[in-house]
Symmetry: C3
Subunit: 152 residues, 3 copies
Amino acid sequence: MLPTPKKFFVTAGSSEGKNPLNAFDNALLKGKIGNLNLMRVTSILPPGVEYCPDMEIPPGSLVPTAYGYIISDVPGELIAAAVGVGFSNDTFGVIMEYSGKCSEGEAAKAIERMLIEAFETRGMELKGTKIAAAEHRVENIGCALAAVPLWY
Amino acid sequence: MLPTPKKFFVTAGSSEGKNPLNAFDNALLKGKIGNLNLMRVTSILPPGVEYCPDMEIPPGSLVPTAYGYIISDVPGELIAAAVGVGFSNDTFGVIMEYSGKCSEGEAAKAIERMLIEAFETRGMELKGTKIAAAEHRVENIGCALAAVPLWY
Amino acid sequence: MLPTPKKFFVTAGSSEGKNPLNAFDNALLKGKIGNLNLMRVTSILPPGVEYCPDMEIPPGSLVPTAYGYIISDVPGELIAAAVGVGFSNDTFGVIMEYSGKCSEGEAAKAIERMLIEAFETRGMELKGTKIAAAEHRVENIGCALAAVPLWY
């Protein structure tokens, strides 16, 4: 089997780029995850995982990551992305991602509502959250993204 | 290398949610794969893989999975998703996913046609199929999804 | 942790199909990666990775892959996809993907510009590139894709 991750952190970033993929790449770099190979996952924090905000991951590593992003080419538009981890008392957590044409505060509020629903559906008590969000006012082509990298 | 999966099952589920991602999350829970970290793959059943419908996978595991889904916020709309595994006689199989504004029966029929084409293109004989499908009549925001998790 | 890939190649292909997913599947087959489980990654070439154009990977393997594609059902439309690897002198490289309604030459040019921006942003010198591209004139439903599979 693939080894289950043991560590995580949360991050967010936003940037302009000369085209959509470079805007995405530049936003990843702002979030300090631009030199990794993110492998997108749906979005559970494994039990016992440890919060390691200053983790250094070697470039090119395969990093399971839950993330959300938005890219816009509408000058003046405000875009934002947020992620949130919801913690349980003694078992796994749930990760939610959101992006939209809104402020970073609105994206973070959306995440809180989503985590509440995710825990209600599971019949689990939500003991705390950790949220990261970023917003961006588009000049030409911009990206906002937020991510929860999982690591070992 | 990443270890090649040895087991699989098929599943499908559908649900409402207060927003698109929670609808997706709730549909995953209905399909009993909501507490996993699905890693999406294109879509081959490795040779020799065993069908294990009652497999229990620990929460937060990284699970290579072929899946299809549709999310709709059009009240009254019928949505459906289906997956199908096509088996060969003695080598790998092929997985196909479909989702659309249709019934679960129509989605399953689409999968059958897709598997026939996938085997014809490969010059392989299709010896059998295993299909899972789910449909959903949207109330406010709904999701239908179907998945083939691969495991060890 | 997941093992970091040690080899790569670049490929591209295009095809018709009776539906969008079969067009995608057929284009993967043209690119000789149709019998693998591609796991999509954002898009770094790990340091020290070796170029192996004739690598044979067993069917059903989990293959970390950066890829771009476009599917069109507009008869007569020209579609193309390209990928490019940008190499540094002594550390990791960067992979970019592009797809659009254009020729394969235009897609390859877009990739060159994207790699230049990716290296400028990182303050790294771009020492060389390796690009693969494919184009397709749509008959009914067509797909063009380009990929950088990473392997061991």
